[in-house]
Amino acid sequence: MSEHIEKIAENLYALTARKMKPLIVAIDDDNSFVSHYGELSDYKLPQFEKGQSCVEELPFLVGLEDETYVTLPIVNFNDDNVSSVNIIRINSNRYVILLEAVDEHQREQQVTQSSNETKLLYQKLQQLTQQLEIANQTKSRFISGMSHEFRTPISSILGYSNLLARNNSLNVDEVQQARAIERNAQYLLSLIDNVLEHAQLEADKLTVSIAPFLLNDLIVNIGLMFGSDEQSDGLTFNLETSESLPEVIYSDQIRLQQILINIIGNAFKYTEEGFVTVNFDWLDEELVVKVTDSGPGIPIEYQANIFQAYSRYNSGSKKGAGLGLNISAQLAEKLQGKLELKSQLGKGSVFTLMLKAKVGSSDSIIKDIDISKNQAKKVLVVEDDEDLVEILKIYLDEYGYKTIIADSGEVALQKCETEAIDLVLLDMQLPKLSGVEVVRNLRSSQFKTPIIGMTASSNNEDKVKALEAGCDEFLSKPIQHTSLLSAINNILNHHV
């Protein structure tokens, strides 16, 4: 029995040995051949003569003359040879032990190759992502910058065309022409606003402010905006509200209004005769607003892309860059909602906005404000209109804020330096040092306190200027106490 095992073991060793092709080459300190054990031909080595230098055939020997023990796991030498190399010094000789490692080399090479290629791809991806981010930022900056460049001359065109239209010496046709210039300039301005907003949405820079507000305020605004004869232009405008509507909801009132103005505006734009109906409903904790029109409808092949940027269904000669619905859809998403379309050619369209919103109680706008906390908060009101200042003081006092007054930009800057202010309410239209200049001044000196800009109601340009200068929020004049307190509360809660 042991005989067999011995035989098997012998054969096994012989097999292993043959596979590994062991070669031992004894060399002296000058790297000259002394003797060998094994097959030199296994490594395509010549039959060395005693005293012959081995450096040519075993180039790895150079530099290791002084080493006592060296182990080199994988060495590729003389092109074809791949082996492990161990060098052991015993007395005056060194023994170079080679064991073939072709298979091991191949296995490791495959793994390393795969790993390195993956790492290279990842690094390339990171580089491209960085380049893309830079390009995107450059694009956004360009658009912001250019929008200002466009606005200034267009404002001038608006002004002149407005004057022209009022010129009594012009005939009817000429007045119409002047009005056409004015309308188109206004349209260009709104296009620029859209492009800028679209760029902000793409860059994910557009933020929403969720705060409680009275739904009725929004509905009344919509009614006022579209209910007059001038606005409805001969169409019947219906405003319907369900009894189940909550009094107060949490959302971004301004953005929600923006979405609705856009959809309803579109409905009016594309409907020649008949009606536009806006229906407000509350279903399963969702605000559902349906805008129905008796317009021409949208063919089914255009409906899939109707919310894409720059997508337009060209109905007649209606103008537009095709960004309004895209912006509205993106805003709806930001508000945890969605915008849908149902339409049939020749039978009008229904745009439905569905928005999940938390319900507030009629006291929630007040309940959200912890008066005891507010007593620690100081609000700097920068306003040169004394009458308005008195009103604002009453509002702020009601909710426990301490008011500090500055009647000019210069005084405001001083107060910001000397007092611990929690919030600034700033009129953007101050004499001498303007509101925009005050904000820029403060932000450039690392003033981090939140600033609410108060702007004239119809002036979108002022709003944009306010935000771009560094305001955190804006309020339109005339200021309603609910919107003032919502805005202040929202900002102060987020800036704790």
């Binding site: 001038s156 608006l158 004057l163 009022r166 009458d387 009601e398 004049k477 005339p478």
Partner: protein, 112 residues
């Protein structure tokens, strides 16, 4: 509608009364501004002064929920802005501005 406390409402009412009492003075300011404007042939800085005054009236009137006065002052303010942007004097502009200004004076005098 979310209500202010009775105390705050009382204060606002009082403030509104005081605001109304200030109307004759405001009307006076407007009239003085207008006279300067006419005498200096609608020079740019006079238009600017009038615009600033109109802006204040529009703002405070609106906050006191006097929307007629707010609208009238706001319209007149917009005409001033157009004139400033266009940077020229024009008889039609003056006519429009005058008519808006007179409308505002009329409204404020009615309430004084």
């Amino acid at each position: 509608m979310s209500e202010l406390s009775a105390e705050a409402q009382q204060k606002l009412l009082q403030l509104k009364q005081e605001y109304l009492v200030s109307f004759p003075e405001k009307v006076n300011q407007l009239q003085t501004c207008w006279q300067n404007l006419e005498s200096k042939k609608f020079a740019a800085n006079e238009i600017n002064s009038l615009g600033t005054l109109l802006h204040k009236i529009a703002g405070s009137a609106g906050s006191h929920e006097m929307y007629d006065i707010h609208s009238a002052a706001h319209s007149a303010e917009q005409i001033c802005k157009s004139a400033e942007m266009a940077d020229m004097d024009s008889s039609s502009l003056m006519a429009d501005l005058k008519s808006s200004y007179e409308r505002l004076i009329e409204l404020m005098q009615e309430l004084s």
